[in-house]
């Protein structure tokens, strides 16, 4: 049974995108105009961003916002490929 907190949880791929682009937390925070701890809390799922910040993050990584944020957990890397191969 999902709790109220689970219902409000917004999953994100900020850490993956950051690692992929080689951007540090501080660099991303400076680009977004937020405290670097805020980026950390976002990555850890302890803070859900406003729509404005979510769009800013998507724009920074030049991807659609749904690539970065989702209401459902993102599939693990490789899990979709292996499912596709088995079909």
């Amino acid at each position: 049974m999902p709790t109220d907190k689970d219902k409000e949880l917004v999953h994100n791929r900020i850490a993956v995108l950051r690692a992929e682009r080689g951007v540090s937390r501080r660099e991303l925070a400076t680009a977004l105009g937020v405290h670097y701890q805020t980026v950390g809390y976002l990555e850890r799922g302890e803070y859900s961003p406003s729509l404005h910040l979510a769009l800013q993050i998507a724009e920074h990584f030049q991807v659609p916002v749904e690539v970065v944020f989702s209401l459902k957990p993102f599939p693990l890397i490789g899990s979709t490929t292996s499912q596709g191969d088995s079909k």
Binding site: S24, R25, R26, G33, V34, H35, Y36, Q37, T38, G40, Y41, E43, R44, E46, Y47, P49, S50, H52, L53
Partner: protein, 176 residues
């Protein structure tokens, strides 16, 4: 979006960007700071109670100076650390806070507001009880000392709430 307007704001922001000392990176460490500041506040209330009971007298004066003095010095040290631990969330002007910090500040002020209301009612009740048992005995020193205790409490409550609620800081990537 944080926008620095003056040199002073730049200095403040730089001071609050520093890493939180490792001792306060845990919940127990931060709550230890809150407990210490509650002890400091209790000293102010202790002096108020002594004043209501003994003022005007030398004993009341010495106890008030001792309690408030210790509370002030120890409290200033603890508050300084709490400002750093909370990264100035309650200290910095709104335009220097990001949206998470601004929301945290609002939450802290809203919780403090509720606590302040309770505190005011509790104080009024205690004073009323004290006055009915002691007739119309209400020394002016006691009123002033009680007022000081209340002002200090109202001033520090948002900081206490923020420190209490704060999640563990994220270690910097180089330290992780």
């Amino acid at each position: 979006m944080t926008t620095v307007h003056t040199k002073r704001e730049e200095k403040l922001l730089a001071a609050f960007q520093a890493d939180v000392p490792s001792r306060y990176a845990t919940q127990s460490g931060r709550r230890g700071l809150v407990y210490t500041s509650i002890v400091c506040l209790a000293l102010f209330y202790a002096s108020a109670v002594v004043c209501w009971a003994l003022a005007p007298s030398d004993a009341a004066m010495y106890v008030t100076f001792a309690c408030d003095g210790i509370g002030l010095v120890l409290g200033a040290l603890v508050l300084g650390r709490m400002f750093v631990v909370t990264r100035g969330t309650t200290r910095l002007p709104d335009h220097l806070l990001d949206e998470r910090q601004a929301m945290e500040k609002l939450r802290a002020h809203s919780t403090s507001h509720r606590l302040t209301l309770l505190l005011l009612f509790a104080t009024m009740l205690l004073i009323e009880l004290g006055m009915t048992s002691e007739g119309d005995h209400s020394p002016s020193a006691a009123v002033v000392v009680t007022f000081v205790a209340l002002v200090v409490t109202v001033w520090v409550l948002p900081l206490l709430v923020t420190t209490w609620r704060m999640p563990d800081p994220i270690p910097d990537e180089d330290d992780a």
